[in-house]
Amino acid sequence: MLGLSKVAGVITGAAMLATSALGLGTAQAADDVIKVGVLHSLSGTMAISETTLKDAVLMMVDDLNKNGGLLGKKVEAVVVDPASDWPLFAEKARELIEVDKVDVVFGCWTSVSRKSVLPVFEELNSMLFYPVQYEGEESSRNVFYTGAAPNQQAIPAVEYLMSEEGGSVERWVLAGTDYVYPRTTNKILEAFLKSKGVAEEDIMINYTPFGHSDWQTIVSDIKKFGSEGKKTAVVSTINGDANVPFYKELGNQGIDAADIPVVAFSVGEEELAGLDTAPLVGHLAAWNYFMSIETEENDAFIKQWKAFIGDDNRVTNDPMEATYIGFKMWTQAVEQAGTTDVDAVRQAMYGQEVKNLTGGTAVMNTNHHLSKPVLIGEIQDDGQIETVWRTDDVVVGDAWSDYIPESAKLIADWTYPYVCGGCEKPMY
């Protein structure tokens, strides 16, 4: 029993250490500070992606405080770790709102974690900024979606590949991780492709579990599917670190971007950072932001990020830009409303404008989605993504897809007369 109690002691010690480190500074007086909750996984599978976003929020808070705070008050970040555990997300969200009394929360990455916290935010009428590209089919009064909806990422990417410039693709492999985001996106894409006259046998759909590492069969299936005499492309909604062995296998089996291009919706600079990208040159990614874009705003942002994190090799990515835009919009809305009261800030959010890091201006619409430009880029040998195509103007995020019959008729609009996240007729 000696051994076990020892182990237990170490575990408790470690846990205490972790809580004390994360709960940092919550004991301060609540009157003269504005509290910002950060709900991103710092351990578990999603830590790879989400830790960066936590740092991005901390950087923005730091910057705000250096410039005199908000409404004359100091801004304080309250960081919690939901540990890639979906039910824990809901518990931690409740803790942030009820115990720490935060004024706003920035958080979540996977759709399943967002779905898990949604009832909490609605019940307690708090505000969540969700910074990741997602499958749409949702609009909550208490959530602002600053990532891309399907019509701001998936549909333009497929249209690009269909065009002559993109290679006139006629045959499609929809490969994804087995959960809600890829399944819904593929449902929308399938309906879209069929509406463009693509036959059933020219679409292949494949799902794999989280963290899948043996891609041999799937990649050789893709190879076979692509040898039927029609130009073939892969649309990848594969999430997380399963992408690394997937791209490695593509490279090893010699699938060239010129023959079968792969366009990915969840692979950004951060994911490519752990990968030798030489065999991947020419494969595509669709986002609203690339680190390689040369604008004054982006240069400043990258500089600020590298200085904050203290590492010159760190990259920036799309969800970071979405966090940046969301945070800026929230501070502007708070200043405009003169208070952090959720209802007042929500009203002030509509029509709020922030300059995109990629040029142009992002606008918050009344369906709680942003208007942003869509970019398509090709992976380069240095792990960066170079733009090869972009929309001339910003695209309005559409909460309910036009390509799924039951959602095409729904409207999300949180202002009078609709005041709903998904209804066919105005409520008033």
Binding site: L4, V7, I48, Y207, D214, G229, A273, E386
Partner: protein, 563 residues
């Protein structure tokens, strides 16, 4: 020019005497063909400046013009562009290549080779290309290097022509084929020529002859080509009798290729199954010792694999920083390093925790599970939560193309061989060394072994260390195919237990058979059921199997087992 397109096929059978052809003649021919299109560029420098355009359509015109000039510098320019190493100075728009030096980049004019000194990276913009341009440049380079001195370049050129099949390349290709001396390059050229004739041939006879050559090849590329033509014919309205006949022969050829490809697919499936089985074997073989032989339910087994993978990363980083020349061998050096690091961890765990818990499986399970969480967080604290990249050496990248349609990837071949070697070494240790003898003695009858003077405590520690060390070596292999992250071990712990239980506890041969059969079964199920369902089916199968034979495939017999 096209009227000279007589049946080239005969050249394949009766090669004519090699002709003297220079690059210039081919270029002249192409220039003639291409001169009529696109805006005129005065000279190569002028055409190269066209690459500075922001529009891809204009860049494409410039690229074509550069190739048309047929200058030897065109090849350098296009190759640099294709490699993404062509830059332009922001100040005066000169096209340069750059070399990293200590205080910035040394730039050289790409055409005049004039040195411009050192600049900062912010002073240069990269000339960007997209997939379409990449294809075009490969095609143009192929045409320009068809007569190059280097056979490897000629082979590349022939394959580029096979892919792009430009009509006007028929004559130069035929001439190049006539002058070709290397057999494999000639084969590639014959294939490219047949593809050209098959697509652009003027009469159905030419096409049919080309088909005869093509159908001997059976790669997916040929299938793509044949299918494409078949689709075209199917779209025709009222095809003539001749064309219908041709369509029929394409169909027969396709059926033949299909048959061969199906055969290849079976071989490929077995190979993939074996490689998956080897991964399972590597992950499970350490557990076969700690769990199988010692009876310790070690939930931290996966973390030993993870520690092995991180050791590989550290060894590689050390190599990168202190001995860059040896980087290609860092993986080999990592094998003993991973064995020692993970082995020492194992000994430490056995001495500090597990030895107090022998005979209490439930407590062992909880303690080792807690330990696995601590180890994960420990590694996360030291190395950070992001994945680490362990690069694959050149000799483990790419695939071994046996014939068209059958390619085995080197990293998988490597893993199969590595797994076999590890199993062999382990058997040798267990069967032929005195430590192996003591180990078997202790696990079969502890009291008797102790009374014979064997230090059972020491043997326990060493056995656990051996099992952990082997798990560490598995980590080296897994670093090549999976992500090196703190969670690496968790993905393999369930699979490892599955293999050991299925194979029969305490039997290395059982572990081997179980791992390989599970791997192959999984790979044969996967095309029909998908990756998720295949795994579920395997799990159900094992559960049912254990109901029938609780001791697994190869149960140990004898008195030792009964207690």
């Amino acid at each position: 020019m096209l009227s000279t397109l007589h049946p080239f096929i005969q050249y394949c059978e009766n090669p004519v005497t090699p002709m003297r052809i220079t690059i210039k003649t081919i270029i002249a021919a192409m220039l003639f063909l291409l001169a009529t299109q696109g805006p005129a560029f005065a000279d190569l420098t002028d055409a190269a400046q066209g690459l500075l355009s922001k529009k891809y359509s204009e860049k494409i015109q410039a690229t074509e013009a550069i190739a048309d000039f047929g200058d030897p510098r065109s090849i350098v320019l296009l190759e640099t562009l294709l490699d993404g190493k062509l830059y332009a100075t922001k100040s005066d728009g000169r096209l340069v290549s750059r070399k990293k030096v200590s205080d910035g980049y040394q730039i050289t004019d790409i055409l005049t080779e004039e040195d411009f000194g050192v600049v900062k990276s912010g002073d240069l913009t990269k000339i960007r290309i997209n997939n379409k341009m990449r294809g075009l440049i490969k095609d143009l380079l192929g045409r320009l290097t068809l007569l190059n001195e280097d056979p490897a370049l000629r082979l590349k050129a022939a394959n580029a022509v096979f892919k792009s099949r430009p009509k006007e390349m028929a004559v130069p290709l035929r001439d190049a084929l006539a002058a070709e001396t290397e057999e494999d390059v000639a084969t590639a050229m014959r294939r490219a020529l047949a593809a050209l004739n098959f697509v652009h041939g003027e009469t159905t006879t030419i096409k049919a002859d080309a088909l005869l050559i093509l159908q001997e090849q059976h790669g997916p590329e040929v299938k793509f080509l044949l299918n494409g033509e078949a689709n075209k014919i199917a779209a025709l309205q009222n095809p003539s009798h001749e064309i219908q006949q041709f369509a029929l022969s394409i169909e027969t050829a396709l059926a033949r290729i299909e048959e061969k490809l199906a055969f290849m697919a079976v071989i490929e499936n077995i190979f993939q199954g074996l490689s998956l089985g080897s991964v399972l074997l590597l992950a499970a073989i350490g557990l076969a010792i700690t769990f199988g032989v010692m009876g310790v339910i070690n939930m931290a087994h996966g973390e030993m694999v993870m520690i092995g993978a991180y050791t590989t990363y550290v060894v590689q980083e050390l190599c990168r920083n202190f001995a860059p020349d040896l980087l290609v061998y860092s993986l080999v050096a990592a094998i003993p390093a991973a064995f020692i690091v993970a082995g020492l961890c194992g000994v430490a765990i056995e001495r500090s925790i597990i030895r107090f818990l022998y005979g209490r499986p439930l407590e062992t399970l909880l303690a080792t599970w807690g330990l696995s969480l601590i180890l994960q967080q420990f590694v996360r604290t030291i190395f950070g939560p992001t994945n680490k990249e362990v690069s694959s050496p050149e000799w483990l990248s790419g695939a071994w193309e046996i014939t068209g349609g059958l390619a085995l990837t080197y990293n998988r071949i490597g893993i199969i061989l590595f797994a076999a070697a590890v199993l062999f070494m382990l058997l040798l240790v267990l069967r032929k060394t005195s430590f192996g003898l003591q180990m078997r003695a202790v696990t079969q009858n502890r009291k008797m072994a102790a009374s014979m003077g064997i230090r059972t405590g020491w043997v326990d520690a060493m056995t656990f260390g051996l099992g952990s060390g082997v798990a560490g070596m598995a980590g080296v292999a897994l670093s090549q195919i999976d992500n090196v992250s703190p969670n690496l071990g968790q993905a393999y712990i369930v699979d490892s237990f599955m293999v050991v239980v299925f194979g029969g506890v305490g039997n290395l041969w059982g572990t081997l058979v179980a791992a390989l059969s599970l791997g192959v079964t999984n790979k044969f199920l996967e095309p029909y059921t998908g990756a998720v369902l295949a795994k579920i089916f395997i799990l159900i199968f094992i559960i049912l199997f254990i109901q029938k034979r609780p001791r697994g495939l190869f149960a140990l017999k004898g008195r030792a087992v009964e207690n």
